[in-house]
Amino acid sequence: MNEAATPLWEVFIRARNGLSHKHAGSIHAADAEMALQAARDVYTRRGEGQSVWVVRSSDIIASDLVDKDMMFEPTASKIYRHPTFYEIPEDVGNM
């Protein structure tokens, strides 16, 4: 096992126009062009995609699980961001 490792790429696919690209999986490829071709072969054999993105896995910046509470917990306490926090008389109708 003295061969150099082939870089890892993450694959995102837009199933059809109107939808955003969604993570489908990952593949190994030496460069961007080969990564796109491999992503097409591996993840879109049955018309699953209209558009494919590939991104080097090492270029993705991810939040750290350790910071999960610090990052996301505060949103749970801000109930005034939700419409049901505000009281509107029924007579006003749908709002």
Binding site: E3, A5, T6, G25, S26, I27, D31, V42
Partner: protein, 331 residues
């Protein structure tokens, strides 16, 4: 079949009880575990073992059928078989990349396959001797695979479950193309029907072995069930497979090669004869009809492809250097 990947799996783990209890509570609440979540070492090790062996099975599984692509009887059959074999390779790739999320590299897994340190499903150590075998493999082998994989779609590890959902969607074509081959043969000449019966005779028992031996209260298996890596027992899945498959054999007018196979009214399912587990262990331990050939081929192909991998990396590197130089020059 991929529960074979759990044979000898060491679910031993060293975390304290509070950690394990918190983890178990998440599993019991049907929460999926994702790559960077805290998890017991035993859970990670068991999954790496099962997922990599599952991936290896897909890769080695290309060999028995690939052998018939150039000899398929019609263009229609050839196109279907080519697509199916390509997909086995694709399934291997989904699974390798799902396993890599647990911190094992593709190169490590490939190495384990090539050196024989890792196993793959016993079924792929049987040869595909006739065209009818291609029908039997699609019908029985992929049929058994579907039983197992449907259960794995609900595995507690997110990336594995997602890969399985994708694979299950594709697997149905594999089984149907195999069964269609057998329908054609069974509606053909006497000789063609004999070929189909002969394929069923040879593939029936090895297909039942794919589910792995009865667990009989094995500790490893109970741990895997508890962690929801595995959701049904080997025997339950095997029974489900037999109940689904026997009527399909009857439709073809073929005879399942088990004199003890009888319908059990009480359990609303079939009772089957004894499985030759000595044969199973022989094959698992390396002495099946094709073990050496499969591994030799895989090693040869890997060796012969080395220059392609090297050239692709060298080209990518050269281009990156040139682009960098052009960028600097433009500034």
């Amino acid at each position: 079949m991929y529960s074979q990947g759990l044979i000898g799996a060491d679910g031993k783990t060293h975390e304290d009880e509070a950690f394990l209890a918190a983890f178990q509570a998440r599993i019991d609440a049907e929460q999926k575990i994702e790559p960077n979540d805290p998890m017991p070492e035993g859970y990670r090790k068991t999954l790496i073992r099962q997922m990599s062996q599952h991936a290896h099975s897909e890769i080695i599984g290309m060999q028995p059928e690939g052998n018939w692509i150039s000899r398929a009887p019609t263009l229609r059959r050839k196109a279907a078989l080519l697509a199916k074999v390509q997909e086995e390779g694709g399934h291997g790739l989904y699974l390798y990349s799902a396993a890599e999320t647990l911190g094992v590299s593709r190169e490590e897994m490939t190495d384990q396959l090539l050196t024989g340190a890792a196993k793959y499903s016993s079924i792929f150590n049987y040869p595909a001797l006739t065209w009818a075998d291609i029908g039997a493999i699609g019908w029985l082998v992929d049929g058994a695979v579907i039983m197992n994989q449907n259960a794995l779609c609900r595995c507690s590890y997110g990336p594995y479950a997602r890969a399985m959902i994708r694979i299950c969607k594709e697997e149905s074509f594999h089984q149907r193309q195999g069964y269609e081959i057998l329908i054609t043969l069974c509606n053909g000449t006497e000789q063609q029907k004999e070929l189909a019966q002969d394929a069923l005779n040879r593939f029936w028992w090895p297909s039942l072995m794919m589910f792995g031996p009865s667990e009989g209260g094995s500790v490893h298996s109970e741990q895997s069930m508890l962690w929801k890596i595995k959701r049904f027992s080997n025997d339950d899945l095997r029974d489900k497979f037999i109940n689904a498959t026997v009527p399909q054999a009857e439709f073809l007018g073929l005879k399942v090669p088990d004199p003890d196979l009888t319908w059990n009214e009480e359990k609303q399912g079939y009772d089957h004869g004894d499985i030759d587990w000595d044969e199973f262990w022989r094959v698992v331990k390396g002495d099946g009809p094709c073990n050496r050939e499969r591994l030799k081929n895989r090693n040869r192909v890997h060796r012969e492809g080395a220059w392609v991998r090297e050239a692709a990396l060298a080209y990518a590197q050269k281009r990156a250097v040139r682009e960098e130089a052009a960028r600097v020059a433009a500034e």
